[in-house]
Subunit: 743 residues, 2 copies
């Protein structure tokens, strides 16, 4: 505490001394974040950016990498600007930097926080070796709508798990302090509610009650703040009718006053300017509103740079408001150690030795395997047996371009391992692989054009669809088993990649249809960035392995799992709907006043006429090559009092033939409240590895804090009454026990 | 004012004198609403109900009709209960009573408030002739999700239009006073937000911000209150995490204190009991919470009857709370004139002369024609020419059972006119009609079983689907034109009838597919209770007439329109999506910060990769057999000041060959606000009838009140700045002018 106080005092003295020397123009310059254009390959600094840096009109920069380029840009700031204030260099480092890990939705399915933290730590290590000190991650937006493309960048639908991931990511990026030159400053995004985009359409309006915000959507941002995240990014959407970027309740009352956030807030890309389209006013007006709401840094749009002085003169903003923002930016630079050494991230030796290392690739391979979710495995068709002939088909089976997934701006697709390569690497002479592409990701050229905004992810073969299918059928007819690598192109999810239909594309369904007729067992390896509708596939395939977009080591990791070198252990963090018409669908829904049991006609109960209420694959679901059986649940006491804890226990047995890892999940239901409570909520989980035949007792401690929720006064309370505790292998298949909270 | 005061004073004196004689038990009895079971055909009063009425344990009754039966029940109350307090008799009279009008969604598409008012007036006339004095209508729940089955019972997605309909319906039912024995007391429902059921699944949770409630969802309820509605029904859903039926903010702070509602609040069917499943507590607890929140009458569940005395003894409710509820119920009885004459609705002469009259049937035929919406009409295939051969096909072409639509409990399907009958009636010898059923509504027996909860709406033919299609194809081959009557069974919409797929059923698509191959022009007559996805049909049919469920005179009215005796004039009050993945889709959406123009790839704009942002048929859309051309829009002044009005004008020309009626629509956009404003909002419309070739100037008065909206303080304000006014034939095809609100 004292040490922190001393450090803070030193920082305050330094920053306030510096600010005394600064003109208002220079202060505003610190609030300006620019990109020279061209995420990686563009010129180091365009002429315009160059002169702005000289003029003290730039506080930070993003979109360039490499110690050499970054040093050159930093030199301009340090040598040529009047006060020699160094720049921060940021980038979209989302799921790994050069070594790409699975997309965040995939990583979250590992339910392994040590691993997730390690993934951020490696990303930080590579990013800092590449000259960077600031990453726009983690994205912690809770999302219940798989149409929304950015579900791929988040951790799914659950608040509790989302908070764990938020904390792990911040810890991984920042370590104990981001003054460490192998750590970066993290930026939690998108504050707030961005994941609730209406109709799953990116950038669309969001709307919800305060109680829903507090209970489900806000906690992961707060978890990142509590973990010490250095910066926060504002979201594009509105909150209560006011864009987040101009929302003072959000940015000041909630974030700073209620939560005590001390870092700075940066907008998302041109978010200030976009408030013109939101209908909040002209650039001067929206820039002033953003500053007054609590925004400190303006990304790319330069509304602050070009209008704040005018607003200041006209009394529309105050010097105090500009000072507050400038101070927060300078404090971040101080904490990053940039005033001590502006070139501390420009370490050529680390650049040469710390990027895409064997260790990092090995980690990527391990993390990818641990992120995969086995959705189906009839008759133990997986793991693949040795000595067999495999027909490897599908447009993603030998496809480097789509392995990395969305927002992998520094990843090199050429360095990625395809499934074909992976199978060969892992199986060696133990398998005979016949490859046939089988179909295009999509045959729709207009659709392909939209998806290919960043490059040719969907390539349409010169052969006709029927020719491709025929080739695949011939391959299948010669094989013992078909492995069909299907799914999405990388940018069918991610930013600005929402889909109204989340099933496999027609071309792929047609291939599956024909393969099915061969009568050969079909293993689908799905590469995807979102939950998909797989009703037909679930009924017709023998096995489905959801591999997400697995990153640089995708093919090796998929092969590890297919051949049983890694027994899959991932569990879904988002529900998979049966059809689009069920959306939004999520496990922790309310019971309603007319719940439908699923049995009987259901007239006057809450259901659809044409589909069940249940998802195809529920939250927390994931199979293993072995099987786990659960004993009944016991509680150490039927009652719990304020300040006390009880233990809920279960014995888990590996009842199959493989060693395996299981994520034992704990859910709680509050049966009676002053506000309605969900049918169950995740409140804990434990990952255990059991040898075939082994049993283990698993204890969960339940404290009164686990029973708390926000009441109508938005106070977090635990109300006396009856509770249920559920323990199981997923959110659907659980065993239960009762207990009571007494006063 | 003085007269009202005197009347009120007389009522107060009467009611308070009566209440002084009442025991607490008798007061609670007045809060009890029961149904003897069996909506129409059940025994008059079951033994249990009989004895409860004698014991003063019943305040009102619903589910029986006929002056004879109702007189018998009333006699028990008046002759055998201690204080002789008469009962109120209610029923689900939704879109007509015995003479069934189009479903409310259809009626709303007339945009004809006189007609809608008249429909309620006729319903009231028939209901009172049938012994009733209270109807559970209008339903004014704004809905943006066509999956929700109850969209059929509402007036669509728009708040402004919804307010007009709410007002017209209350006026039609209640007249200037429901003391008139040909009028009924109305009951506006479902308060509040029921139409926002999540995922379009009936009875599901609802959630939204207060600002969204105030701006879009609450105004129609308030319009009904302002129109003097006698009663309000609580909704099943929760509002801000608390079920409406226990929501004191909603029922007392908003409804009574802010809006000044003076009538009584009844729950929906067993809504109090259902709060046990919502998780609010046991029956005693939820009953007490309901009373304290402001509920006056308990429908069917008898939670009040069985627990309020206990709660009173235990201090959980007060006598004052019971008195307040009892007083409101007695006031309603007083206003209905029941204390003057408990049998005033038991008029055998009216029962014999005022029900299903020729005049009422003629009105039903007229209202049905005016509610239909022509969605497509290529090459003027409609109106049908005389002297031709028509292949009339489809499972709804000769189907009495499904003409009336949902919640037509007193309608007799046997009295309805099928399309086949209607065509014969209207065309006589002018057409040669070959009928073939063509397909089942659905071939899915499990689905049919669910839909057929109230009777055999989906009948599966003994012939195979192919045999039926073959017969239709033969008919088509002999015809000049195909009229295919397709769509939904009546109870595929309505309560507890949500659908995740809102396209035509597979059986009907298969029929259309084969008919298309004949090359004959195809006219689809669609009978439906919700917006459907018609992308294929729009591309492949020559004409589409949306006839909704048109009621008793369905067939005649459809024939009137098909043969051009009535030139269609209906306009959609709900957007028709292209696919389910676009839902929710509505015209008055926000612009967002990244609006997509629809042109170009749209990367980083708000859109989907696989479908456009636009609906297939927009709000306000509807064709005519003639065409209307619009001049540019002029405004009388470029500026408007507080207290002033301006006029926006357009000249509309009937540029086609038929006389026709057009609904000229006025929309306004507020370009800049302190909260984000929708891209356009309906603020007026005028219905004009023009002879072929005729032109007319249409003036709209715009006042500052039309520019108001709720700001973040939930104050309704008009903010100075720029506005756009749009006038056009639907919400998409408009011309615009600018004006400014100055201070």
């Amino acid at each position: 505490q004292t040490k922190t106080n001393t450090q803070d005092a030193k920082m305050n003295a330094f920053v306030s001394s510096l600010m005394q020397k600064m003109t208002v123009e220079e202060k505003i310059g610190q609030l300006n974040l620019v990109t020279p254009g061209g995420t990686v390959t563009g010129s180091v600094v365009s002429k315009d950016v160059d002169s702005k840096i000289r003029n003290g009109q730039v506080g930070s920069l993003f979109g360039i990498t490499g110690p050499d380029k970054i040093r050159k840009a930093q030199e301009i700031a340090v040598n040529n600007s009047r006060l020699h204030i160094p720049l921060i260099f940021g980038l979209d480092v989302i799921h790994g930097h050069r070594t790409i890990f699975p997309i965040p939705l995939g990583l979250s399915c590992s339910w392994n926080m040590d691993m997730i933290e390690k993934s951020a730590e490696i990303a930080a290590s590579e990013a800092t070796a590449d000259g960077l000190s600031w990453v726009y991650s983690p994205m912690v937006d809770i999302a219940r709508d798989p149409r929304w493309g950015r579900v791929s960048e988040g951790s799914g639908e659950d608040t509790y798990l989302g908070c764990q991931v938020a904390k792990a990511m911040v810890k991984g990026y920042q370590g104990s302090s981001y003054s460490d030159p192998t750590k970066v400053m993290a930026c939690v995004k998108h504050f707030a509610l961005y994941g609730a985009a209406e109709a799953g359409r990116d950038y669309n309006t969001t709307d919800m009650s305060r109680i829903k915000m507090y209970e489900y959507y806000l906690p992961p941002y707060k978890a990142a703040v509590d973990a010490g995240v250095g910066s926060v990014m504002s979201s594009f959407n509105e909150v209560d009718g006011v864009p987040a970027t101009a929302n003072k309740w959000l940015m000041t009352d909630l974030l700073r006053k209620q939560w005590g956030f001390k870092g700075f807030v940066v907008t998302d890309y041109t978010a200030i300017n976009e408030m013109i389209d939101h209908g909040l006013g002209d650039l001067q007006r929206v820039s002033a509103e953003a500053l007054k709401a609590g925004i400190d840094m303006d990304m790319v749009g330069e509304g602050f740079l070009t209008t704040l002085q005018k607003s200041l003169k006209e009394g529309k903003v105050t010097v105090a408001q500009i000072n507050a923002a400038c101070k927060r930016v300078l404090e971040a630079k101080y904490k990053l150690g940039l005033f001590d050494d502006p070139y501390r991230y420009c370490n050529e030796q680390r650049f040469n030795n710390a990027i895409l290392t064997d260790a990092n690739r090995a980690a990527a391979r391990e993390f990818a395997a641990k992120s995969m979710v086995l959705l189906k495995n009839n008759n133990n068709v997986l793991p693949l047996q040795k000595g067999k002939t495999i027909a490897l088909v599908g447009p993603l089976a030998d496809n480097k371009r789509n392995m990395l997934g969305t927002w992998s701006v520094s990843g090199d697709p050429e360095k990625s391992i395809t499934v074909l390569q992976g199978l060969k690497n892992v199986a060696g002479s133990d398998a005979n692989i016949i490859y046939a592409r089988g179909c295009n990701i999509s045959d729709d050229t207009a659709f392909a054009k939209k998806v290919n905004a960043f490059g040719k992810e969907i390539e349409i073969d010169t052969r006709s669809p029927q020719q491709m299918i025929d080739e695949a059928v011939v391959a299948a007819s010669k094989a013992d088993v078909i492995v069909a690598v299907l799914g999405e192109a990388a940018d069918m999810t991610g930013e600005s990649s929402s889909m109204s239909d989340i099933g496999l594309q027609k071309s792929q369904k047609a291939l599956l249809d024909e393969l099915k007729r061969t009568g050969k067992p079909i293993v689908i390896v799905l590469l995807n960035g979102r939950p998909m509708t797989l009703t037909w596939e679930d009924q017709n395939a023998d096995a489905i392995l959801d591999a997400w977009f697995s990153g640089t080591e995708a093919g090796n990791a998929i092969a590890d799992v297919l051949f049983g070198n890694y027994n899959p252990s991932g569990k879904l963090t988002m529900s998979f709907p049966r059809n689009v018409g069920q959306i939004p669908i999520y496990y922790n829904h309310k019971n309603t006043g007319r719940p439908y049991s699923g049995v009987g006609a259901g007239k006057f109960r809450s259901n659809y006429l044409d589909v069940s209420n249940d998802p195809l694959y529920p939250f927390g679901f994931g199979l293993s090559y072995t099987s786990f059986t659960y004993s009944n649940v016991t509680v150490s006491s039927p009652t719990i009092k304020q300040g006390q804890k009880i233990t809920a226990s279960v014995t888990v047995t590996n009842s199959g033939k493989f060693d395996g890892t299981e994520t034992v999940q704990l859910y709680i239901r509050d049966l009676v409240g002053t506000v309605t409570r969900p049918v169950k909520e995740l409140k804990g989980y434990q990952q255990i590895t059991l040898k075939a035949g082994e049993s283990r007792k698993v204890d969960f401690t339940i404290s009164v804090d686990d029973l708390k929720f926000y009441n109508t006064d938005l106070k977090r309370v635990a109300e006396p009454g009856d509770f249920k505790v559920f323990i199981g292998t997923n959110s659907r298949d659980v065993k239960e026990a009762d207990f009571k909270l007494v006063q």
